[in-house]
């Protein structure tokens, strides 16, 4: 918590108002539309992601899962021409409010991408420390401790502790992805978004990351996009199914519910069809 308070001091709008309130936050989305230029990619999404739980997004390719997850930390608007309307509230505070600093949002809502993307010019150590160092919010002294804690948290410490100064790009794919997770949790976000984090990985690395998600959910609100039904069933507490009416149509949220319910007795027929592999 000490880290949180030091960081609160030097940035204009910090949305972590109360450091004692705990790490995780509830995300409430209502009436959210996302656009690429004039093309509407995601339409009218309202849902709630609970703290200390894993919410999985499933659905066919192109249904807007990735677009939607990127609206949760204001990464969507970085694409030229992209825009969002509706609201995303983090413990009641609208992330799209006019006084909100997107940089602060991204520091609070971390993200892990589909393909591992360690910084190629940096060592393993510097990759993990990058968020803190480059945002200019940490002195050298406590960096060592944070790097070790983050690497332990990402279940990578024992594999890399003897070569922290080697380039991060020299690790295997699975290790690189865990390095990216370590990098994301080093800045102590309150929410962790994962956009198909295992799609480029082999089953063993996938298992390692799923174990990691189970550990991380005790401290973070986790949202994960996955194409792997078993993975959604294994790791998530809630599952949201997205679909689109047809090519060129915007993606919509079909239903969201407890993972067990969605996988055993979904309300919508299309969800059952998708899970059973009858389409998509």
């Amino acid at each position: 918590m000490k880290a949180t308070t030091t960081r609160t001091a030097d940035r204009g709008t910090d949305i972590r108002t109360d450091p004692e309130a705990g790490m995780t936050k509830r995300i409430e989305v209502s009436g959210l539309n996302a656009y690429y230029g004039s093309h509407k990619a995601v339409e009218d999404i309202s849902m709630t992601m609970e703290p200390r739980s894993v919410t999985a997004f499933i659905g066919p390719s192109g249904c807007g899962k990735s677009t939607f997850i990127r609206t949760l930390n204001r990464m969507h608007e970085l694409i030229p021409g992209a825009s969002v309307d509706g609201s995303v509230a983090l413990d009641g505070q609208d992330l799209y409010g006019s006084e909100i600093d997107p940089v602060a949002v991204r520091r609070t809502v971390g993200m892990v991408f589909q393909r591992p993307n360690p910084f190629p010019t940096m060592s393993i150590y510097d990759n993990v420390a990058a968020g803190l160092k480059l945002a200019g919010i940490k002195r050298k002294g406590d960096l060592d401790a944070i790097v070790e804690r983050s690497l332990r948290g990402a279940n990578l410490w024992t594999e890399v502790k003897d070569r922290l100064n080697k380039p991060g790009a020299g690790l295997s794919g699975g290790q690189q992805q865990r390095l990216c997770i370590a990098r994301a949790i080093a800045v102590e976000p309150q929410v962790l978004l994962m956009d198909e984090p295992c799609s480029a990985l082999d089953p063993i690395s996938t298992l390692a990351i799923e174990d990691l998600i189970a550990l991380l959910k005790e401290r973070y609100t986790i949202v994960i996009v996955t194409h792997n039904m078993q993975q959604a069933a294994r790791v998530s507490d809630k599952t949201a199914f997205f679909n689109l009416a047809g090519p060129g149509q915007p993606g919509r949220l079909v239903e969201i519910g407890d993972t067990e319910t969605i996988f055993s007795a979904p309300t919508e027929e299309s969800t059952a069809d998708y899970i059973a592999g009858r389409f998509g």
Binding site: R106, G110, L134
Partner: protein
């Protein structure tokens, strides 16, 4: 061709396919993975014949260019024909294309190598510590003394100053275009950079002459030359840096931004270091592009035979100017000096290039384990 009597008139089925199919049934070897191949020595033997032929042509026609051309054409023809006869059509085409490409490579390299070779041959003898450390001050037409120290100083200072101005401006422009630029302004900048790429150097020189010397009333100096060189460097720096920045995967920018790192720090600490090697190479290319410029310097730098270390006041010299000047002096010693100065210029470019490569390698993204 036995294909004709199969009666197979179905469209879309090539005769080759039918032939191979039939042969495959008749003879299992035809469908095997081996093919008749010329022994490895044969193309070389034919090439040797080509060289002999060149000499014969040279002796009969007494014209090197014609001899090499004729022998080359005959070599390619014979090699393809032999391959066609003893191998198969695809191999023959392959050998034909390979020979053409090799020939093109030799033709492309030949002028480069001969320029370099001839410059070394003519210039090497004159190079000496004395030549590198003395100016032309008080050297008469019949003296074998004199050197290029003043010209080296001039070139290094003028190009250095030009780079000092052009690299930051060019780099910032490239960063603007790749990371921030959208819409009309970015398009306009790109357009003008493209136009500037084709700017004749004398025009840059005249522009600075009109602006700096006639309008603002400054005297000719090394710095006036730097300004012209800067104009010539700028588009190359912008263009190469732009391409290098575009090569940086967008995932890295997103990874950095998703960590809550502000955009300017992302550009400074993630994008630029990743593109660093390429940017250094681009800067070196732009320096190599302007270090041999003569025309604008003729207008702007003046031409002095003595040492002037101050690029901001008084006339200077420069290596290309020196070569120009000595070549016009019209005596044997001056001609030797011109060649030696040209060689020095090439060596300086080479040293800068090597240095850039070393820096680029030292800073390059590492993937070692």
């Amino acid at each position: 061709m036995t294909v004709l009597d199969t009666g197979d008139k179905r469209p879309g089925i090539g005769t080759d396919a039918v032939e191979v199919g039939r042969a495959g049934l008749a003879d299992p070897r035809a469908a095997s993975l081996t093919r008749r191949t010329l022994p490895r020595q044969v193309p070389w033997a034919i090439a040797g014949g080509g060289v002999l032929l060149t000499i014969v042509f040279k002796l009969t026609l007494d014209n090197w260019a014609l001899a090499v051309f004729l022998a080359g054409v005959i070599f390619i023809g014979v090699l393809s024909a032999v391959s066609w006869r003893f191998e198969d059509a695809r191999r023959a085409r392959d050998r034909f294309a390979t020979s053409l490409i090799s020939t093109a490579f030799v033709l492309a390299v030949l002028p480069l190598v001969s320029v370099l070779g001839y410059t070394i041959q003519r210039g090497y003898g004159k190079l000496s510590p004395y030549f590198l450390s003395h100016s032309m001050r008080g050297v008469g037409a019949r003296d074998d003394t004199g050197g290029i120290y003043h010209a080296i100083i001039g070139t290094l200072e003028q190009v250095g100053l030009a780079a000092l101005i052009a690299v930051p401006i060019g780099l910032l422009t490239a960063i603007y275009l790749v990371e921030y630029g959208r819409g009309r302004l970015a398009k306009t900048v790109t357009f003008f950079v493209d136009v500037m790429t084709g700017l004749p150097s004398i025009v840059a020189g005249l522009f600075i002459y009109a602006f700096w010397i006639m309008m603002l009333g400054f005297q000719a100096s090394g710095f006036a030359g730097s300004l012209a060189l800067m104009i010539l460097m700028l588009p190359t720096v912008v263009r190469s840096a732009e391409e290098m920045l575009k090569l940086v995967p967008n995932e890295l920018r997103e990874a950095s931004l998703a960590l809550g790192i502000p955009k300017w720090r992302t550009v400074l600490k993630v994008v630029l270091p990743t593109a660093f090697g390429g940017i250094v190479t681009g800067v070196m290319l732009s320096i190599a592009r302007v270090i041999g410029e003569t025309a604008p310097l003729l207008l702007l730098v003046g031409l002095t035979q003595s040492i002037n270390t101050d690029p901001f006041s008084g006339w200077q010299s420069a290596l290309p100017l020196y070569v120009f000047d000595q070549n016009h002096a019209g005596n044997q010693f001056a001609e030797d000096r011109a060649w030696a100065a040209a060689l020095t210029l090439i060596v300086i470019v080479m040293i800068l290039n090597l240095a850039a490569r070393l820096i680029a390698r030292w800073k390059a993204p590492k993937a070692g384990r």
